[in-house]
């Protein structure tokens, strides 16, 4: 029998069927293997087992795909958590916040299984720990930076991607490049309230039941029901959805270490305002002892707290502070600033809070901190919806062409075109005033 099978397989021309040929070995060898060890399998049987294994894998894949589909189709109970009033900007509710005053005052005496209580105040300000300020976002106005899609400038100087709240400067370098530099962000606390009214007309329900006659076989009843239609005065509802942008962190850049040349402003109508009494705004030179004031003016609404210490910036990125028992090591890098045009744009506001109807002065200081002459400098500020530019309030310390045009938020885009190129170390100051809507 074995010989017949072997002869049969030997008569099969090449290529042999993979199920019946295994690396050139005949069935006799497998028979010997079967006889010697009792655990080897015939190639056909092995192929059958391989098919079973593949089938199991395929079914496992099918089950995994169906399980994944079921998991993806499941949704969290958004309707009960994220959609309650205040969900858009209400404070988060981490576990353990549900506490009464008495529980909050217990402090560390709380049971160990309960999370530590949050800082609790009956009156006064509060912000959740671990969340970057300003918070909550819906109570602040922002202006500056380049959020959303990045701004791009075409060869004909057409600007694309300038969105609400963006403040950028673009300039040309001596080697033919057109570069874009955004400013920092300015945050102003200016909540505004609206209301929604619903009028409900009380429906009249009158039911008259006359006295029934004792003689009558049937009592006469009258049932009047008057339903007065409710009136509805429908005004135009809002349909537009605007993007909410997170506040970026303040980024400071350093040049090549050379001091910027003192550039006192002479073309202003007024002297410097009190909130502009910062050396970097007056002369363009950074003073370390004014760093806190500058940061406070830049992110005007952010409270200057103890954790906002000196920041280390390497390659325009904030360095990580490592603490531990290991030896501290520091790596310093030196940028080769040759052929490195750079424009620094700083924006500050006169106040950190404003009520609707109040005015806010903005000051933009720009300096050439690179090593090239910069030309065709254009500064653009797209005001957010709730900032209304006060006409004829724009000032510039350098000769510049000022123009405005509407933006998509029914506000204005302010545009300054600096007439003359700026030498390295030189700079200028722009100023304008807005009314908070």
């Amino acid at each position: 029998m074995r010989d017949r099978i072997e002869n049969h397989f030997a008569s099969i021309s090449t290529p042999p069927h993979p199920a019946l040929s295994h690396e050139g070995r005949g069935i006799s060898q497998y028979a010997q293997m079967l006889g010697s060890r009792g655990k080897a399998w015939h190639p056909a049987v092995m192929s059958h087992r391989h098919a079973k294994y593949s089938l199991k894998c395929a079914w496992a894949l099918v089950l995994a795909a169906m399980l994944l589909a079921i998991c993806c189709s499941c949704r969290s109970p958004m309707g009960t958590t994220a959609l309650a009033p205040g969900a858009s900007g209400a404070p988060p509710c981490p576990a353990g916040e549900e506490m009464t005053t008495a529980v909050a005052e217990m402090g560390p005496a709380m049971p160990p299984y309960m999370p530590a209580p949050l800082p609790y105040q009956v009156t006064g300000s509060w912000s959740p720990p671990g969340i970057a300020l300003p918070w909550p976002e819906d109570e602040y106005l922002r202006d500056g930076g380049d959020d959303g899609s990045p701004v791009a400038v075409a060869p004909d100087w057409t600007v694309y991607g300038l969105e609400l709240e963006d403040t950028i400067a673009h300039f040309d370098t001596t080697d033919g490049r057109t570069m874009i530099e955004p400013s920092n962000k300015v945050v102003v606390y200016a909540p505004r309230f609206g209301s929604v009214r619903m009028i409900t007309r009380l429906a009249g329900n009158e039911q008259a039941e006359p006295v029934a006659g004792i003689d009558g076989p049937e009592r006469i009843a009258r049932n009047d029901e008057t339903t007065i239609p409710a009136t509805s005065l429908q005004r135009i509802q809002l349909e537009r959805q605007g993007g909410i942008r997170l506040t970026g962190e303040f980024r400071s850049r350093r040049g090549d270490g050379a001091l910027s040349r003192a550039q006192f402003v002479s073309a202003f109508q007024d002297a410097f305002l009190p909130y502009e009494n910062i050396t970097v705004l007056r002369t363009g030179e950074f003073a370390n002892n004014e760093k806190a004031r500058l940061a406070a003016a830049v992110q005007a609404a952010i409270t200057w707290t103890a954790d906002a210490a000196v920041q280390v910036v390497i390659d325009n990125k904030a360095a990580q502070i490592v603490t531990g028992d290991r030896r501290a090591q520091a790596t310093y890098t030196i940028d080769d600033l040759r052929n490195n045009p750079k424009l620094r744009v700083i924006k500050v506001a006169s106040t950190n809070t404003a009520l609707p109807g109040e005015t806010v002065d903005f000051t933009i200081r720009f300096d050439n901190v690179g090593d090239q002459v910069l030309g065709n400098i254009v500064l653009l500020d797209s005001l957010t919806t709730r900032l209304e530019y006060v006409p004829d309030s724009a000032q510039a310390s350098l000769e510049a062409a000022f123009s405005v045009k509407p933006n998509e938020g029914d506000s204005l885009v302010l545009r300054w075109e600096i007439d003359k190129p700026i030498e390295p170390g030189d700079g200028g100051v722009l100023r304008f005033r807005c009314v908070v809507r």
């Binding site: 589909a69 959609l83 929604v196 609707p356 709730r386």
Partner: protein, 294 residues
């Protein structure tokens, strides 16, 4: 034998693999085709309706946690020029003050007001309620500069006098959806919703609801005694000055004793929904037999 093995095993294997492969491909296609469906916003169910009983939404807000319990949110109650506003303490209204009135209110309790001397409606009274359902978080030192404006508009007061029930949800506007209109010094932006709509839901879409004003519902009946439900327990509040500085060291917290009707209650006779005109003579509470001549 080999033929039998090949005929029996190979076609079955091929068929099973083919079926499994087909099912796997179909499953993956269905999975990827259904992924956009999972990304879409599901239909939402708003827990809170505009016709919730006063205090219900605020109570639920407290259960959500956060620094809400015990916080006295500064509130500025505005009314038409000349109108007088009175808050309830100890189950009775205190002396009226000219609008605007600034107080610090707790979140969740219901505050009952009395508005009198309404222009062109002198002699009539409206008793609105205010329910604070969320707070705002001004910077340090600016808490009292940014009260929540509660505007009792003349239109609302007149509608309430005509028998309408007004529900006004005050919300903090989302700057990303702000209306491009200037509202400095004027009344806040508002709009009407049609009947059958949920004003809380609409306000939540436009921002963050912080307060609910209701008026036109009930009038007090002080002749028959104290109405604890009408005053909603007279929750404490903190009177604030014109610049929203506390006038007293602590909140006005007075225990609510049982109030008995006396003849002096005549001056607080409810006149809501009653047009100005001669009042009916006051009824004496003295038993008639004592007034009979001897």
């Amino acid at each position: 034998m080999a033929d039998q093995l090949r005929l029996l095993a190979i076609p079955s294997r091929v068929r099973q693999e083919r079926v499994a492969r087909t099912v796997a491909i179909v499953s993956l296609v269905v999975l990827f085709a259904s992924m956009p469906l999972a990304a879409q916003t599901p239909k939402v169910h708003y827990r809170y309706q505009g016709n919730e009983p006063p205090g219900a939404i605020g109570s639920m807000q407290l259960l959500r946690g956060g620094p809400l319990p015990g916080y006295f949110q500064p509130v500025e109650i505005k009314a038409p020029s000349g109108a007088l506003i009175s808050l309830a303490v100890d189950g009775a209204f205190v002396e009226s003050a000219k609008a605007p009135v600034r107080v610090g209110m707790l979140i969740a309790p219901v505050y009952r007001l009395r508005v009198t001397n309404i222009p062109l409606h002198e002699g009539e009274e409206v008793f609105p309620t205010i329910e604070i359902i969320d707070r705002i978080y001004p910077p340090v030192g600016e808490v009292t500069r940014f009260p929540i404006p509660i505007e009792l508009m003349r239109d609302d007061l007149e509608l309430a006098l005509e028998g309408h029930y007004i529900t006004r949800v005050v919300y903090l506007e989302d700057p990303g959806q702000a209306l491009p209109v200037a509202s400095g010094g004027k009344e806040q932006e508002w709009f009407d919703t049609g009947p059958g709509t949920n004003p809380v839901e609409i306000a939540d879409r436009l921002g963050r609801p912080v307060a609910i004003i209701r008026m036109g519902g009930r009038v007090p009946d002080l002749r028959s005694g104290a109405d604890a439900q009408f005053f909603a327990g007279s929750p404490p509040f903190v009177p604030l000055s014109a610049d929203c500085r506390p006038l007293v060291s602590g909140p006005v917290i007075v225990p609510a004793p049982i109030h008995t009707a006396t003849a002096t209650d005549e001056h607080v006779t409810p006149t809501a929904y009653v047009k100005a005109g001669p009042r009916a003579p006051a009824k004496s509470v003295i038993p008639s037999r004592e007034r009979q001549p001897q």
